[in-house]
Symmetry: C2
Subunit: 397 residues, 2 copies
């Protein structure tokens, strides 16, 4: 028979960048296209011990149905930790455990946006979130960033032009894909604009704990005195993405709608991941663990940057991230960026993600591409950067 799909999903086309990404299954290709945590960042021995005790002591709790809001001890522990960081206010806010932070974006959008409502995001931004928003047929508007984050003047213009703006989606720390960090002054300016235009900020902070240079900058959530910020956190980058455990913090009214949406989506998040995350935070020195992760990523980022400084054409610019997993590499203006990425993977067996993948529309022009340093081994970083460098020298020197 013939199938007719909903407007929501008809809009979601398989991406042109899949053509490039499918090369990455070739074992000869060095991939800087992923976004996985480094395998050596998983505390496997500790997790093995915790898991054994979990199934010894509380097997029925792991295996039985849980509640939609999440495993209570984990929620309480996170509330405490986030309150200490100024990101949770007991009286007016609530915390919901989700199946990864991705689900926070989906639930927030589903709860707050009707089709046609405007959702503003950084341009470029994280493709997974953009697709979640698109799947609810919102009017997705990208506002360009500079080195300090989203441009406030352009944001104001977008807010003025789109009075039906329901959400402003921001990744202030070590943004995916650019690796940029929004400055304190910029965070304040963006929050002030959300106040002025009476809209809500969705602050996605998957990499905040992975700062390996510079000083921590307060989250936008910590400036929020009016219940105007929805905050998304996750264990994917600091413990394990395979367990699919994230969390959202928002005013109680919003969380209660998100809970209803989560209940009809997956009932509750897998108990195993939640109980593992709880015991891990409770039993291990979590801050020392984070310090160890930061050291891993500091070294990997430094290694990639060192290689790029050595081998890349000086005509190619790139960000020096202070944390997270990615850097953003910009070819000379007007270059054939897609052509570069295609040659890189086809001839030089090195994969990166073309920057237009992260734009609101893949038609949007960008001279940049994303490189990931967390997933490849040190040897792959050295070799791939040298290969890419030779292509930049051939094309731009």
């Amino acid at each position: 028979m013939n199938y007719t799909f909903s407007e929501k999903v008809s809009q979601l086309q398989p991406s042109a960048i899949r053509e490039i990404l499918k090369f990455t299954s070739d074992p000869e290709v060095i991939s800087f296209a992923a976004g996985n945590p480094a395998p050596e960042a998983f505390p496997t021995d500790v997790i093995r011990d915790i898991t054994a005790r979990l199934f010894e002591e509380e097997p029925i709790t792991v295996l039985q149905y849980g509640i939609t809001e999440g495993y209570t001890p984990l929620r309480e522990l996170l509330k405490e930790r986030m309150a200490a960081a100024g990101c949770f206010r007991e009286e007016q806010e609530d915390l919901l455990i989700t199946s990864g932070a991705q689900q926070v974006m989906e639930l927030a959008c589903k709860s707050l946006c009707d089709a046609g409502d405007t959702l503003i995001c950084e341009a470029p931004s994280f493709i997974g979130s953009l697709n979640a928003f698109k799947s609810y047929n919102v009017n997705l508007v990208g506002v360009p960033m500079d080195e300090e984050g989203m441009d406030p003047e352009l944001l104001e213009a977008a807010l003025w032009a789109n009075p039906n703006t329901k959400l402003i989606y921001l990744i202030p720390n070590f943004q995916n894909p650019t690796g940029r960090t929004t400055t304190l002054a910029r965070r304040k300016a963006l929050y002030a604009l959300a106040q002025k235009y009476d809209t809500i900020i969705l602050e996605d902070n998957p990499y905040g704990d992975l700062r390996f240079a510079g000083e921590d900058i307060p989250t936008i959530k910590s400036m929020d005195t009016e219940g105007r910020v929805i905050y998304a956190g996750t264990f994917s980058k600091v413990l394990s993405p395979g367990i699919r455990v994230g969390y959202g913090i928002a005013p109680k009214e919003i969380i209660s709608k998100m809970v209803v949406c989560k209940q009809v989506s997956d009932v509750h998040t897998s108990n195993f991941g939640q109980m593992l995350a709880y015991r891990f935070m409770k039993e291990v020195d979590f801050d020392a663990h984070l310090a160890g992760l930061r050291e891993i990523y500091r070294q990997k980022a430094a290694r990639m940057i060192h290689g790029m400084e050595k081998y890349f054409s000086p005509a190619v610019r790139f960000t020096r991230p202070q944390g997270g997993l990615f850097l953003w590499c910009t070819l000379p203006e007007g270059s054939d960026m897609t052509g570069f990425c295609k040659r890189a993977v086809a001839e030089f067996k090195t994969a990166v993600v073309p920057g237009n993948a992260f734009m609101v529309s893949e038609e949007d022009v960008t001279d940049s591409f994303r490189m990931n340093y967390s997933t490849p081994t040190d040897e792959a970083i050295d070799k791939g950067v040298e290969l890419l460098g030779s292509l930049t020298r051939e094309m731009f020197d």
Copy 2:
């Protein structure tokens, strides 16, 4: 600030039955209101062993990102098993692992239904699925059932009246909430109507493996020669609901849209649950395990029915399910069913779920309520049934 929610979620109101269900947190209350598997049905020792080996042998695979479609060995094993049952056709169909079967309903509805499209369900039906459908603002139409399943004449009238029907949602085996099983003749008639009106059946089969009396009846999926049936299965009732692992089978075109929707919702299902389900099916005699579960539920159902026959007023009728977790109890016509349920929990400390919870609208009148025999202990079944019985005798004898 004031929040404006989407039309989708504004429609989802906290349920009036929560007033009754909240009593169930009172430890003195005997609850027949749940739907959890019996704790003794969890093979905890085997799961403990499998888990230990999993984290010994493949810790990185458990902890790292997986792919949206699901853990490949589990998908392959399920395809094989479902093909053997006539429910999977390799050439034209695909299988997607989901975070519980609930997610199959959500993804199917999101992929196929625009706001205002009609989705037909049994009246009564499973509240979790109905809320998932409502969260996409569909026109939800309930078609009454009799002892043999959904009434085909009334279905035809509904299809005729609603030419925009995108899905017919059915739970043919040991339906939640009624415990009824759709007969073979009725399954054929319902499938024929889906053909005649060129629409799709969403067949939800969470309890199919839990038949403890009578003969298996072929699934509607097994009759599907045209790619007209989406099938939902789950490990929640046969292994563990806390791991949140279900699966959907559908034509490849439909699965590819559901994959996109799943990716933006939770990226992928928790690896732990998928790998546990795979190893469990691979290493244990799964059919022998299912036989053990059937024996547990056969005894529990028999115990509840025995008590009801002994203590309930003969004016109260109830179903004798051949499998699953629930039975459906009907008071004399025109009784104050809600009043009965309220008195049951307030005065007799025994909770059941009022039947209107399972109707398309809670305003819809029903004289029935749902009782669950899988969750309570044998002692709780004996005591609660006797207590409820005394209330029926007081009100209806």
